[in-house]
């Protein structure tokens, strides 16, 4: 196993979440949550089921619009942002229940991930002019590098719908990586995997962080996985932040232990 990424290289805050509150009708999902994510760090958000982890990710990536609070990415504060806009700014994500284009091949799925990097207009594409063709090739190279990185060469041409679950998760990570994001949001990347697949995925996440320098926010409810992977951990419970710190600090925190053991509020 390679050593976990060097702590020294972690830089200035890349993402700052301030005082976020989100409610659906009368149901409060998040309440006054603040934390930051630093450049090149692996930041985990953990918490029991229903703690608001996925909602938090959806706020960062613009799927939900919080009633209160702001999200600042690369120093730019914003209240409302669309997923499409978030992607443009350099945020890529995966989903808890895999959202891949099932009818398309692995290669096409990854090429879609580069959608935003492509510049040729519809007319050039429609006529398949030289620039459009060159652009395809150039992006194909980038995508091939991701395929090599994730060791999925053998399924390059396979329709995603035919792949087993573990591989689909890997392809989804690949599609996010193809966008060369600055911030990568992973929603339970290891849910439903067997031990070997989990180990593979952990290795890929660390390698992404280490070799590409990508900042990663990941949600997990499997505590052991998170503790090995992340530099810092935010703990949510019933929509509130109850702890924030290094894995060791969080592990010893009484509120966290109570939340995980289910002490009555």
């Amino acid at each position: 196993m390679s050593e976990i990424s060097e702590r020294g290289k972690i830089g200035a805050p890349l993402l700052q979440v301030e005082d976020i509150s989100l409610a659906f009708g009368g149901v409060v999902a998040l309440q006054g949550v603040s934390f930051d994510v630093r450049e090149h760090e692996v930041r985990a958000i953990i918490g029991p089921n229903g703690a608001g982890k996925s909602s938090m990710l959806n706020v960062i990536n613009g799927v939900y619009h919080p009633q209160r609070g702001t999200v600042a990415f690369k120093g730019r504060r914003r209240r409302r942002v669309d997923p499409h806009e978030a992607a443009r700014q350099g945020i890529a994500r995966t989903f808890q229940n895999i959202a891949l284009f099932r009818g398309m091949s692995v290669l096409d799925n990854l090429m879609t991930g580069r959608n935003l990097k492509m510049r040729c207009n519809v007319l050039q594409q429609a006529l398949y002019l030289g620039p459009a063709r060159r652009e395809e090739l150039e992006h194909r190279e980038k995508v091939e590098a991701v395929i090599d990185f994730l060791e999925i060469q053998h399924i390059r041409k396979t329709p995603v719908g035919r792949l087993p679950y573990g591989l689909q998760k890997r392809v989804e990570l690949g599609r996010a990586l193809a966008a060369e994001p600055e911030l990568l949001l992973l929603d339970e990347p290891m849910a439903g995997m067997n031990l070997e697949e989990k180990q593979d995925m952990s290795r890929f996440i660390l390698d992404v962080n280490d070799q590409m320098g990508t900042t990663i926010v990941l949600i997990e409810h499997d505590m052991s996985v998170v503790m090995d992977l992340s530099d810092r951990v935010v703990v949510l419970d019933y929509g509130r932040k109850i702890a924030d710190g290094t894995p060791d600090e969080v592990r010893g925190n009484k509120a966290v232990i109570d939340a995980y053991l289910g002490v009555a509020h």
Binding site: V63, A99, V122, E136
Partner: protein
């Protein structure tokens, strides 16, 4: 036997035209899950606009260009006014909205260009091909052949566009999973506009070909009904299905008319496709090429 082939080929050529109409439906259904009732009206609108500009003295290609621009404007309008406000509404709501759109388009078209029948001449005569007539004795219309050629080219270009370009990939992506498409930065609105423009382009080609054959008239809107059995046969979400479905419908209705018609007193051409489609619904509801939905518990 020679007569059989003559009927078969005539039917297949007519079928290509049905395919074209069905293609417009499939494009929109694939990308947005909307059954666009207005496709027939769009065909009518496109053809009428072209003829209208020509009657104002515009040369043919300019008129086509202007009609194309009108279809693009219509696409943008539809996305803004109809689709965007109805995001995340049930399919039936969207379907009803397209019915409304149908009346709107028909109204606009007749308001702008009047309701009389216009002739359209594409410069290809609807007459038998002499060489074939001489050598095989078969009566195959030159116009049908050219029209089929145009339609086939259009289909091939669309297929390439879908499979080889970024926008094509994005279109397929949106058809596959909206949420995922959003996450990779595909703008749904943009894609919808492109899809409706493409459907408009297809409608224009369809309108010109049918219009040249039967005159540009209100009856073109009923083409939508003709596409229905094609879609049932081929599946609502398959381009290949639209093509094969169209060919089957075209060939079988002509053959049925000639060979079964006399037994029941004729005139079955107009309803035979629907019977065929109905039978098909019982056996394979997702269509020949449609995606089989497997509901997992």
């Amino acid at each position: 036997m020679q007569f059989f082939f003559e009927v078969l080929i005539g039917g297949l050529l007519a079928g290509v035209m049905y395919s074209l109409v069905a293609l417009g439906f499939v494009l929109i259904y694939k990308a947005s899950g909307v059954f666009n009732f207005a496709q027939g009206a769009m065909v009518f609108f496109a053809a009428l606009t072209t003829v209208g500009f020509m009657s104002m003295g515009a040369p043919f290609w300019l008129a086509v260009g202007l009609a194309l621009a009108a279809m693009a404007a219509l696409a943008v309008f539809t996305e803004r006014v109809v689709l965007r406000p109805l995001v995340n509404q049930p399919q039936i709501t969207l379907f009803m909205a397209t019915i409304g759109l149908t009346y709107f388009i028909e109204g606009i078209a007749q308001l702008a260009w009047g309701a009389q029948v216009h002739a359209l001449d594409l410069g290809v005569a609807d007459e038998p091909i002499g060489w074939l007539m001489d050598h095989t004795g078969m009566n195959i219309s030159k116009f049908d052949l050219v029209a089929s050629g145009i339609a086939a080219t259009l289909v091939a270009v669309l297929a390439l566009f879908f499979n080889k370009t970024r926008t094509g990939r994005a279109l397929r992506a949106v058809a596959d999973d909206h949420q995922a498409a959003l996450a990779v930065g595909i703008s749904l609105q943009r894609i919808w506009v492109i899809v409706w423009m493409t459907a408009g382009f297809v409608a224009l080609v369809t309108g010109l070909l049918w219009g040249a054959r039967n005159g540009v008239q209100f009856a073109l809107t009923f083409l939508a009904l003709k596409a229905l059995p094609v879609l049932v046969l081929g599946g609502f979400d398959s381009i290949a299905g639209a093509i094969v479905g169209g060919l089957i419908i075209g060939a079988s209705e002509k053959l049925a008319e000639v060979y079964i018609g006399p037994l029941v007193g004729g005139g079955i051409e107009s309803w035979f496709p629907y019977v065929l489609a109905l039978g098909f619904l019982l056996v394979r509801p997702e269509g020949l090429f449609g995606e089989r939905r497997i509901d997992r518990v």
